[in-house]
Symmetry: C2
Subunit: 331 residues, 2 copies
DNA sequence: TTGTAGGCGTTATCAA
DNA sequence: TTGATAACGCCTACAA
């Protein structure tokens, strides 16, 4: 079996037609006589012909490829979203090019450049924060972009999110019924979504008649270790409940508490922020805000397909429903 | 700002040189006078020129893109490997095209076809099992392939793995010192690597003077729920320790035990199989075989770069070192 | 050191 | 219903 690439010309020759005709049958163009189509199909099978997507991309200016940038694929949160993106993408015959950015502005810029140079038809962008430079880069690209789990302050870029404000409000509201000191642990306040959460937290507090205390808000990074470290501080301040927006941090906190012999939920209640799988793996399992991670990705990709195909889209700022899964870290 | 694509010709015109020269500076060819180079660079900056990777790919027959197929990116095990792959890939300026196969033979076949049609320069393949059809497809491709965490029985395809046999042996050996009935829970025995594990388990058992009992080997799927369900069966048979090759299953088992009030490790010992992050998140944290997941991916991708660049490679069957992390689910 | 010209494998526009 | 024949944007001998 000689292995030099077989082209559309080879097929045309074997089938005894012109390459234009071969192109037509490959692309499902109706204007081909059935008999001719069969001849071509046979030739294709015989030669084991496989269209060259690169050449096709050059000629058609469509690559059926979309770029996906996320902080890191090892995060349960982002990988769940990514799965939703990929499923819908393959449903529409797109391939996903993956890039880990580590939330690093420079890396983000680079991978977006690289995506554009590879002529992706669209970009799905996830990132806990959206830097100014990146936002501009995205906005000036003539390629459709959809943000997931990230908010563009000006709401210019299409995006898919949950209502962070409401989720924070509800979680806090729940804890404040049985606790006097409820802490909130979130990511950087540089991110629009975390600001929203803060406000929700604050509102629930005040409605319940508690004063907002800045000292009970913790900006954390995203690690398990970080959660563990926080334990002592919380205990010192007399905190007896916490809403934790990052799951890994919530698990860390839980472990910290268990190690100190603090009983959960009897002596300390926890609500985690996004219901990634391991909130269910802990013992006790964590009550948590159930973000529809997979759906966020799926809906984002669906929206992107519309944008890429220039279909009409009514609304580009999508909010998906969340709920609170009660498990065993709350009373 | 008019937004029609600017090509190498535009740059050539503005710089007052031929397009060949532009191509040279873009590709870092040394044969360009410094002064000319500067003119070109300026023109590039002025026009905000970005080379079209698709056209480049067509002309050069290299896309600097590699395909990666894995069962599902939501698995902590595979996503850790994927991260290693991606890091090394971007180090060598390759992009990763991602595809989830769900271990489904048909999907695997399809995505590999799609990768080949997109002219990827190489393929990284992960999958708990390697079906005959897929193996043949991979072998007959004129594109380099590297397997990760998957064994080709004939050892024809390059691969990167740990020594599953040894790992199973060591884990069993450890448990058998303090337990009379040690179970082994693994994935499908249709996979070469699981056969290896079985043998390791059996050897350790026999060396310790215990008879191998088929009844203590459990073929499980890969879910948390599955682990939980297994609890009762294990207890019924009087098992007091288990090696569990899939982490999620191990965590499920742990939870099942805790729910029944069985003390870990005092009354039951567990060793998990791959040290994905959440083995550390449980309470007690799970002792586990530490597979160097990130490295598996990184090494695989590094090997693939050599294959793609047709460099000499001494050995294509790579085995990485593992160890056993003692945490708190063993005595 | 630089330029010319012929591909690379398709798609797409016109004619026929 | 089919077939020529330009693009598409770049790389790469080969010449100059």
């Amino acid at each position: 079996m000689v292995e030099s690439t077989t082209t559309i010309y080879d097929v045309a020759r074997v089938a005894g037609v012109s390459m234009a005709t071969v192109s037509r049958v490959v692309n499902g163009n109706a204007n081909v006589k059935e008999k001719t189509r069969q001849k071509v199909l046979n030739a294709i099978a015989e030669l084991d012909y496989r269209p060259n997507a690169i050449a096709r991309g050059l000629a058609s200016k469509r690559t059926t490829t979309v770029g996906m940038v996320l902080p890191t694929i090892t995060s349960a949160y982002f990988s769940a979203i990514a799965r939703g993106v990929d499923d819908v993408a393959s449903m529409y015959n797109y391939n996903i090019v993956l890039a880990n950015s580590d939330n690093d502005e420079e890396k983000e810029g680079k991978v977006i450049e690289s995506f554009l140079s590879k002529q992706v038809d669209g970009i799905v962008f996830m990132g806990s924060s959206l830097q100014e430079s990146v936002r501009n880069q995205l906005k000036s690209a003539r390629t459709p972009v959809v943000l997931v789990g990230a908010i563009d302050g000006d709401k210019e870029l299409p995006s898919v999110n949950i209502d962070y404000h409401l989720a924070a409000y509800q979680a806090t509201e729940k804890l404040v019924k049985t606790n006097k000191k409820v802490a909130y642990i979130l990511g950087s306040l540089g991110d629009a979504e975390n600001i929203e959460r803060m406000v929700g937290y604050q509102e629930a507090l005040e409605e319940a008649g508690f004063a907002f205390d800045e000292d009970l808000v913790f900006e954390g990074n995203y690690s398990f270790e970080n959660g563990k470290t926080l334990t002592e501080k919380l205990l010192e301040k007399g905190v007896t409940a916490a809403v934790v927006s990052t799951d890994a941090v919530a698990v860390g906190l839980l472990n910290g508490l268990l190690e100190k012999g603090v009983k959960v939920p009897d002596e300390f209640e926890i609500i985690a922020g996004s219901n990634s799988p391991f909130t269910e793996y802990t013992y006790p399992a964590l009550t948590s805000v159930n973000q529809p991670l997979y759906d966020l990705g799926a809906v984002a990709m669906r929206l992107l397909t519309k944008l890429m195909l220039k279909e009409d889209v009514e609304e580009t700022q999508l909010i998906l429903e969340h709920e609170i899964f009660e498990r065993h870290s709350t009373k």
